[in-house]
Assembly symmetry: D2
Homo-oligomer: 429 residues x 4
């Protein structure tokens, strides 16, 4: 997939005239690049034309910085649904600003972009090392969160009024588009304010990011739900355990949870369509053969089935649009009609998963995300997110990060591994 | 509560003519009694009349036993819903029979009382120390379970055909009544078969039992759900976390989970009625004061509200009889109508909780339950359950154990402690 | 064990002239007693003489209180080694004072009794609901702790200077004796200051207390260590896993950890002497039979063996007084000499166990301990600890609580259960 | 680091004449390469000379295979110390052979290479899906393990006698050299037996492998130990928590545990020398400033200090060679001499960490390692290990994998991140 139109350049507010106060750490040169293509064939498509293959800027501290740390003011905002690691990111930003750059004026806006609105701008909290000291042991976000956009002009007014120089926004697709809009308005007003995004998607579906924070914790936390589903399935004649996991557009959590929990027999994801009949027929035969079954369904799986049923059933009797409940009903109704002795238990652990503290893997990841966001902001980079590619932290323009959603490739290795583990049919259509 | 009609005598199949093969352990004398009343006032009600206050037989190994261990055959069956510790109990029974009494013919009937029916009696598994070795680390039950009764004559036929001498039944109220019926049929047929019940109720609602196995694990496992509910509540403006916990008739799990998890603001249980209006008014004022709230509802709480709504709404639009979903709808509809900015997350962890392995507390409890069940069975006691009173294991006639359900006393210490912790109103009517 | 000289009366500072501000909770009457003896035989020893059997005062809120809540000042101090639940107790005391009695001046003395010394009295922290809000999720103690006594007069000076009316001391034997001394000095100076102890002993070895806080968590946390010991034992030919657990004078943790973790083959406790030769001979034969072994040793087990070796070996080469290291050396040296292929892994999880947060069971227990300590203090009771007997909270004079240490009875049920589980010889002498 | 002499070719036993029975999965072509260098600059060093940059073969199923699955026999052996995930690997190999290739004759050799010796070859276990079904939930290895080499000829005799066609060896450096020797002897005898290594190093120190199984679990499990060390440190005046973690030659676990656990103030690893005096001086000043400190030491850190002390102290009084105990003694002796009030707690969680079951991350990794080992073996590749590079599974010649040890680069990003987090001095010499 050699795309020639990818734009990897990071906007910058101006020159870096101040020496970094950091000492002893390894500085990164601006021209250290992390290759975007990973195979020789892809690379050759560029080099054979005499072009350089595209690459990301490497994140990390620079020798010279744009902002004078003395008197600098920064803001942080967390948006959208909960995700393990939010507090780790907040903490890493505050401590890096404080210890690495001696910036002590850091404000946390409350409840997402709402906190930047005229109505709520006075509720911002000053964040100190003492306040963030051990928040990484807690789930959720100490700043609170909310969904949805706010008036961009009003938010930039807030930044101006509070004399904020760097705004760190932690959030998903929508939040990043909001950050883009804020950066645009700042550009229009010609202000010296950087906007640095930290991409948050528990579903791991942001493009140009190998992995997003919270994802590993989510896969880890899925274990209890799958364990229970399996125990319930084994504990009854024709026992069926059904677990719905997060993943509206992309089935990464479901796929990895399947690989991580060996008990799973069916993994259903948005990227791989299936027909209800084919799935149920296969389930029948598995129950006959093995007496029990465990199913993981990503929340976005089989949405076409629900849509179809809704069309057919104009009376409006479609009771839900939740694939978990939809499958529960479909399976139960089939076996009730057949007079079969069965037991079906449905488990939806989503809220429990997403409100957990980060696991150690994500703690490391969030720590470095936060540090690298601060390093990027101090150099006056803006309209960008901190990314991760080939196991290294990168700078990615927001426009690129939100340009498309990352998906499980039904013909790729990950899905092939899922099939190799569950033994489920390649096609259930 | 001095009841004079309580019947504490345990039926016995016959004399104990064999010396116990146990050595080195402390034997219990048949007349070691554990007092049923615990206050001096109650005891005096008996002693002043020249009567002895009632007491339970103490469980434990006896010097002489009824059954000749040589060639003895035993059976185990687990019934009803999953409960942490089922495998610990199975394991303890098998190992005690094997190591303490050298009884190696132990059969596990599959999927509850179904396994004793004519159709399934051939599916019984022989249970050996190797098979049960580390099953205590697993949730669920290796035997499988099912609900509902089976033909009593058929089940006793199975015991006769398989020459079972002691049947251990692990289950709740219904299961114990089944065991009672089996013991009755055995008596009618004049067979030398003991029936020993191990009471299973994750809700902790069996009378004359201080505590039942799995209950502590359930309270322990509630922590993750309440934690999440609190994180979700704190993470949003007017955030509300609602957790449904087990407890159809008795609110013990909800009450203890409230004491164990300091974040809970409202605990709703079946024993303490409330009106929807009073509850919601109080919730309003809490949200205004504190900005968030965490609610635990036992599954049997507020059933009268659901019934009432059903009556009013003859159209049959009552969408569910689940108090969790009922409250979720009621709260959401109130604040949607009010145009309030709020976030409500509903968490139902029941299946995840009940399928966990026993925690260490319950492991100890189940181990000793199993041992004491074997000791009781070997003496030819029958139609009884192993109980727990004043921190010691007892023998309780099944008839007594099933005579009434244990409930949280709304005027007692436990509920007073809940009120002292949540600060919720004493009356929400 | 009917002791006639037990003293159960609780000293009181004076009359209770103020109505309790508590409303809606269940008040306890001063004459509600919890029987000390638990069997009918013991009770009869008293009643037959026309005497009342001894009993503890029931803890809980009283209708009238001694101190005027308005302007009241209280202090808290935590002493000795870490124990799960310390922060739960601190939190429960602060919140009960604040919410139940509207007392907001609560001071936490830092690092044990040191914090009451002249040198450190200025370092006391004011404790507010905001500060203690979620400290129960943390291990350790937010106040810090230290061992050892301080000058009693100096400490009472501090209480006087700070106008403290109730001092809550959380600690073990030594701490309680310190509290006794402080109460004595207060009496001598005729001050209106109550001293309420909350007994802390992870070993569960304080008398007249059915259970102490942190004990259940300790048993729970032992699981990982025993699990590892077993895995290491199973993973090698003649694998031996040796775990040292807390219990200097009493083997309760070791005994319950043995019952809770079915893999244990030997449990060694201070109360049951053994000879090294007999133990090692038995170990030999187990390794021959089963190929692996798991051993739990309470830290106070076999101290006579160490003493004996020290005497014999006047050169002073005794490398340690730690039974774990002693056994490790003894076992390793035996099998090395014998040229046997073996693997011995020694695990000492003590610090990891004791610094964990309270598990849900202990959270409930600590909450109610704290509440009851506050209720007792408000009535002007002093020189007492909050106890637990027959599953209810009690008032116990400090003098009684420290009068002797609770021990595992080698002829009692608990040890018999340990023997029944491990199958280890009754005597290894 | 562009090394031109790296040898990436994988030896093969012969042609692939049999079609793979796999269906529906994605086959990998033999020429799919994973680039070894990752930066454009490194790649250009090759391309500018007209050479191809070196790369690894991609692991995965091939369309054609070398061995006829019918009647194939395979063996598995696990060697060296315990590591989380061993059972996952065993299970994945057995199930892949069974379900993917219909190979049912799989033998597990007991207790490492010992199991292949003449003395023990009869103890091999036949491994079936039923046996390995849920072993992934257990720590340790169901096969047992041992250290040290065995006679190579004898081991190849065993393979011949048992007609084993593929031997899977799971182990570290030494084990892989053993596998190399076995493969060499097979070559000399001209046998059709493949030897596939699965590299096991909890320390993550095998070269040409981005990550090894068990490493993530080890970092995860370090959390409890660091948590406890911090709680102990905070709970006392001048409290010091000292944790020793695995890492004899490489400090990866210590470094990642430092990043994962924000409480760490000093991270000491083998790759970064320090002087005792400089370290202790720094510790002094930290205690003065902050009152507590948490230290992680990799087991291989500061070995030169121990060697030096040993030289100086010819009397042989060096009590241990354990850096943890060495530092404990050095710190304690300094502060005891200074008469300082301090508390030092030393925690060594190594056995507890390494015997845990794999966490979900490692479960996924081990599953795919096992599958890819089977795919490689079926094609007749030999004398290789399954590796992981750029997030994809690879084939690596054993000679290359054991050619040098992977180390933390003191001038690289990982160590810079550690310094940025702890704030410890760059040089403590």
């Amino acid at each position: 997939m050699a795309e020639t139109k990818l734009h990897f350049d990071i906007p910058r507010l101006g020159p870096c005239r101040f020496p970094s106060p950091l000492s002893g750490l390894k500085f990164v040169e601006d021209d250290e690049e992390i290759l975007y293509p990973s195979s020789l064939a892809e690379i050759r498509q560029y080099t054979e034309k005499g072009a350089s293959p595209p690459g990301f800027e490497t994140a990390g501290p620079r020798k010279n910085i744009h902002f004078d740390p003395a008197g600098l003011k920064c803001g942080i905002v967390t948006c959208g649904g909960l995700c393990p690691g939010l507090n780790d990111v907040i903490r890493a930003i505050v401590l890096s600003l404080y210890h690495h750059y001696q910036v002590s004026a850091v404000y946390g806006f409350r409840y997402g972009y709402q906190g930047l609105s005229a109505q709520y701008r006075d509720t911002a909290l000053q964040l100190t090392p003492a306040i963030v000291d051990d928040i990484n042991h807690k789930g959720g976000t100490i700043l609170g969160s909310s969904r949805g956009p706010q008036d961009v002009a009003e938010m930039v007014d807030t930044l101006q009024m509070m004399q904020i120089n760097i705004l760190f926004t932690v959030g998903g697709d929508g939040t990043l588009r909001g950050a883009q809009a804020i950066a645009g308005e700042i550009r229009r007003r010609d202000l010296n304010i950087a906007v640095i995004g930290i991409p948050k998607t528990i579903d791991n579906d942001i493009s140009f990011l190998q992995q997003s924070f919270g994802f590993e914790t989510a896969v880890t936390e899925s274990r209890a739900a799958v364990y229970s589903a399996n125990m319930e399935a084994l504990g009854a004649r024709n026992g069926i355990g059904l677990v719905k996991l997060m993943g509206r557009a992309s089935g990464f959590i479901a796929a990895y949870a399947t690989l991580a929990n060996s008990e799973v027999n069916y993994c259903l994801i948005p990227e791989v369509p299936f027909s209800l009949a084919a799935f149920l027929d296969n389930l029948d035969s598995r129950l006959q053969r093995r007496g029990h079954a465990v199913i993981i369904a990503a929340e976005g799986a089989g949405q076409d089935l629900i849509d179809k049923k809704r069309e057919l059933d104009a009376s409006g009797n479609i009771r839900n649009e939740d694939i978990g409940l939809f499958l529960k009903e479909a399976i139960a109704s089939r076996y009730q009609k057949a007079g079969m002795d069965f037991s079906l238990k449905y488990i939806d652990p989503s809220y429990t998963i997403r409100s957990m503290p980060a696991n150690p893997h994500d703690s490391v990841f969030c720590l470095l995300l936060g540090h690298n966001a601060v390093h990027a902001g101090m150099t006056g980079r803006t309209d960008m997110v901190v990314g991760f590619w080939n196991n290294r932290f990168t700078h990615v323009p927001i426009s690129l990060a939100v340009s498309r959603r990352k998906k499980v490739d039904p013909l790729g290795k990950l899905w092939s591994n899922v099939l190799a583990t569950t033994g489920q049919p390649v096609r259930m259509i």
